[in-house]
Symmetry: C2
Subunit: 212 residues, 2 copies
């Protein structure tokens, strides 16, 4: 296998867009969701995020990274103003619409309308994406500013979850693959998944086995 | 489609292990890597992490979450002691070995030896996994403590990268799928990917097109 080795000096010399594409690819496949919000005047917003991170199970917490100079800033403003937002999984049927939410629509345009996804409320302040198979209602909990590059990390608590009944397995595992949830690589590459296996809990005195 | 809706009260009542499995599944497919470290006495450590996050391209930054009460604590100690670590992608050939690093081996056992992966040095302080197709050398930059649940977020800067030459595309995109990089769902489910499409940069006045 022919290997390529790059130093930080090589990466530094990349053209800006090339470097963004390269570095965004490096870390592996990413969790993607549509984040739905509205402001206090009921103006809704929808944006795709690719840096969703599990933070903890008790309390149930999920975090994500926001770049405040981007199309993502309306999402951040609405979350800080109202305290609520939704995470909505993306499948191939809504992929182009989901991706299109990353265009820089002005404040007075709702991306729900602009891309043709349906704003949907169910006992929750923030809008869900009706077409999404897995929907999570979140309440804002903690904001952390990363001083190194002025990005912001938002942590929220899971308040409500909706998903197809048949993807919940007896041990609590959700089969996202059968629900059609996509993953993302780099800035713009979307992928379905194929299960290799689940592996048994690792113990020092035995070897992991494949479980179904 | 039969839908199941759960409230935070429902989630609260889950048995602990069931809840961990459920909440870990919810956020979508995750980036996974083996993190290689050693301490100042040259004792090496290797651990699998599933919360690798892109933080920025300039400077090139990647972050990850550490739970300090877990098998991950040796990784954290070594990074804080020495300032260096490696991220190594996981493919099906090394999957079981990679998963097995999550067993709670004692301090004096190197997971490289315990699971049968090869510790490898190339002009860098921290050990790479020789069998891994994509290897990234990282320097520690910022530590953030999330007060809400005592997890720790570690941000590092990319110092060196090694990958198969043929996965680098002309715009800087790395085709991780052709390199065999896996993604993870929940605590223990591993998946290959199948490319749906790359989509063109989103603009308000046009619709995204599929690009190759």
């Amino acid at each position: 296998m022919d290997k390529k080795i790059l130093s930080s000096a090589d990466i530094q010399q990349f053209e800006q867009r090339y470097r963004a594409t390269f570095i965004n690819s490096l870390g592996g496949f990413k969790s993607i969701c549509l984040i739905g919000t509205k402001n206090k005047s009921n103006m809704s917003n929808l944006a795709i995020f690719s840096s969703i991170v599990h933070i903890g199970a008790n309390p149930p917490l999920i975090g994500f990274v926001v770049r405040p100079d981007s199309a993502e800033r309306h999402t951040l403003e609405n979350i800080l103003e109202t305290g609520f937002y939704t995470l909505n999984h993306i499948d191939t049927e809504i992929l182009e619409k989901a991706h299109q939410t990353s265009a820089r629509y002005p404040r007075e345009v709702s991306e729900f309308d602009a891309v043709g996804l349906t704003e949907y409320y169910q006992d929750f302040f923030a809008p869900f994406v009706k077409e999404s198979h897995i929907q999570i209602g979140m309440e804002f909990r903690e904001r952390v500013d990363f001083t190194i590059n002025d990005t912001i990390f938002i942590i929220g608590e899971i308040k409500t979850v909706s998903f197809p009944s048949d993807i919940l397995k007896e041990d609590g595992f959700l089969n996202l693959e059968s629900a059609g949830t996509l993953t993302c690589s780099g800035l713009d590459s979307y992928h379905t998944t194929s299960n290799v296996s689940r592996l048994s809990y690792a113990k020092t005195e035995s070897w992991p086995t494949r479980i179904k």
